[in-house]
């Protein structure tokens, strides 16, 4: 049996999305910047896509800027805000649990003498808004807090954070890459100035994202060149990807309630089974303010990648830490920031369910997981298998 439980890394393309894209890969191949009929045809499709996306998030079409993905959107938001700021000293506030697209951009900006404050989450994986307001100084130009965390799925109080930033005249950006599929996003209601998304996280194509940029917000360019995207993001418009992204978001919006309900039930049942039947299994992040499809556990005494590989051998795709961090030897910065000890952080597995996940699949996964944990503990020097307890060397 093949079971894909890594929907936070990427999602399968919706067949209707592919269907919408295909004409732009065949006869409608024009460059959207061209004046002739081939170009106008592409241009119309891009305009329509922009309107669809705007409608989905309650923005204006002119506030939607297409990028190559969530990473570029994040880079652009941060670097663009810094490059356009006239402040002598520049200060950014973010959190310890952001995606590397934010954290490594902050590290880059720190090299350029931007000061960065990293807010620590609670043990439950939620940022305390009070810490945000206390961190704002007269130098603060931007605060960026992710909508939902990619590893543990915790949902942050974005509306409250945006309100505080607005009061202080500080720009507010949110990385909503993980949130778009399951959360209803209304940028007006949220009051954010900028918001990043990436199509492949909601059954759209890879290589396309959006930065929502509120009318009136100024932002330096990340990529200079032609006059595409109202002159703010150069490069030949990738029409098929844009059409696909719009279609995917439209479908996601339409089916959100019904998918969320089903996935949440499967997810909660799985968490209950794991916590009650696998000893020394810990759920990372709170259970309530959390994406409906995310379950992230640490299984004490055994290492995450070997769990992942065992599940993989049984056809089950999961992630240990974030996909990006895999292959590195460091424990997840997100799990560590919750106060989880390093050895336990190394024992972490993320299950991210999707629209295709079934109860039967989850039963299968549970059984394989239970046996895997059992088998690996038998060979763990940290676990006394006879006694069923941990014994650190």
């Amino acid at each position: 049996m093949k079971v894909y439980l890594d929907n936070s890394a990427t999602t399968p393309l919706n067949p209707y999305v592919l269907e919408a894209m295909l004409p732009f890969y065949t006869e409608k191949f024009g460059n959207a910047a061209s004046i002739h009929s081939f170009g106008r045809e592409a241009n119309r499709a891009v305009s329509d896509a922009r309107e669809i996306i705007a409608e989905c998030i309650n923005s204006r079409p002119s506030e939607i800027y297409f990028t190559s993905g969530g990473t570029e959107s994040d880079n652009w938001a941060l670097k663009g805000a810094v490059s356009v700021s006239k402040n002598k000293n520049k200060h950014i506030i973010t959190t310890l649990i952001e995606h590397p697209a934010i954290l490594n951009t902050c590290a880059e900006l720190e090299k350029q003498n931007v000061k960065v404050t990293y807010l620590k989450p609670s043990k439950e994986g939620i940022i305390n808004i009070k810490n945000l307001s206390e961190s704002i100084t007269e130098d603060t130009i931007l605060s960026t807090i992710m909508f939902a965390n990619n590893e543990i799925g915790t949902i942050q109080p974005i509306k409250e954070a945006a309100a505080i930033c607005r009061d202080f005249g500080v720009l507010f950006h949110t990385d909503a890459v993980q949130a778009m599929d399951s959360q209803k996003i209304d940028v007006k209601d949220l009051g954010v100035d900028m918001l990043s998304m990436s199509a492949h996280k909601f059954h759209g194509p890879k290589g396309i994202g959006v930065l929502f940029l509120k009318t009136g917000s100024r932002l330096g360019k990340l990529i200079n060149g032609g006059e595409q995207e109202r002159g703010l993001r150069a490069g030949t418009t990738p029409t098929p990807l844009i059409v696909g992204m719009a279609k995917a978001l439209e479908i996601s919006n339409r089916d959100r309630e019904i998918n969320n309900e089903r996935i949440l039930r499967l997810r909660n049942r799985f968490i209950d089974m794991v916590l009650s039947e696998i000893p020394y299994a810990y759920l990372n992040g709170c259970r309530d303010s959390r994406l409906p499809n995310n379950a992230n556990f640490s299984f004490a005494f055994i290492e995450g990648e070997s769990i992942l590989m065992r599940l993989d051998l049984a056809g089950i795709a999961v992630s240990s830490g974030s996909a990006c961090a895999s292959g590195s030897l460091e424990a997840s910065h997100v799990i560590l920031s919750l106060g989880v000890k390093e050895e336990l952080a190394h024992s972490t597995i993320r299950f991210s369910l999707g629209v295709d996940t079934t109860e039967q699949q989850m039963d299968y996964v549970f059984n394989v997981l239970k046996k895997t944990v059992d088998d690996l503990r038998k060979m763990s020097p940290l676990y006394d298998y006879e006694k069923g307890i941990g014994s650190y060397v």
């Binding site: 590989m309 424990a331 650190y392 060397v393």
Partner: protein
């Protein structure tokens, strides 16, 4: 990432567990780095007559533990000491670059166990 042989060994590792009558134990690594390897040896007349391991670590670490213990059973202490991490990698048919350190752990765990044996018997 891993070749088929590594996967196969990871799936069915040999020599898992404690050796009740071990007279040499070596432990290398620490959990906060994500790797601990513990090797148990039974040494008789300078010959390693049995070896087992317990490993907290990734698939490569577990596979390396398995082949390393297999490679030293029946060998003299001197032969076991000459086992290099490259031999373990070769036996595994290669490892991804970022996993080479797992083979080093296996080499070091065996050396630590033999050191333990020598200390107990000569010290």
């Amino acid at each position: 990432m891993y070749n088929d042989k590594v996967i196969e060994i990871f799936k069915n590792p040999k020599n898992i567990g404690e050796l009740k009558d071990a007279n040499a134990i070596g432990t290398i690594g620490n959990a906060s780095c994500g790797d601990i390897m513990q090797v148990y040896l039974k040494i008789e007349n300078n010959i390693i007559v049995d070896a087992k391991f317990k490993t907290f670590g990734c698939a490569a670490a577990i596979a390396a533990s398995s082949v390393a213990t297999e490679m030293i059973i029946g060998k003299t202490i001197e032969e076991a000491l000459s086992l290099k991490n490259a031999d373990v990698v070769a036996e595994l048919g290669g490892l991804p670059a970022q996993k080479i350190h797992c083979s080093v752990l296996a080499e070091e765990a065996i050396q630590a166990a033999i050191k333990d044996y020598k200390e107990k018997n000569n010290g």
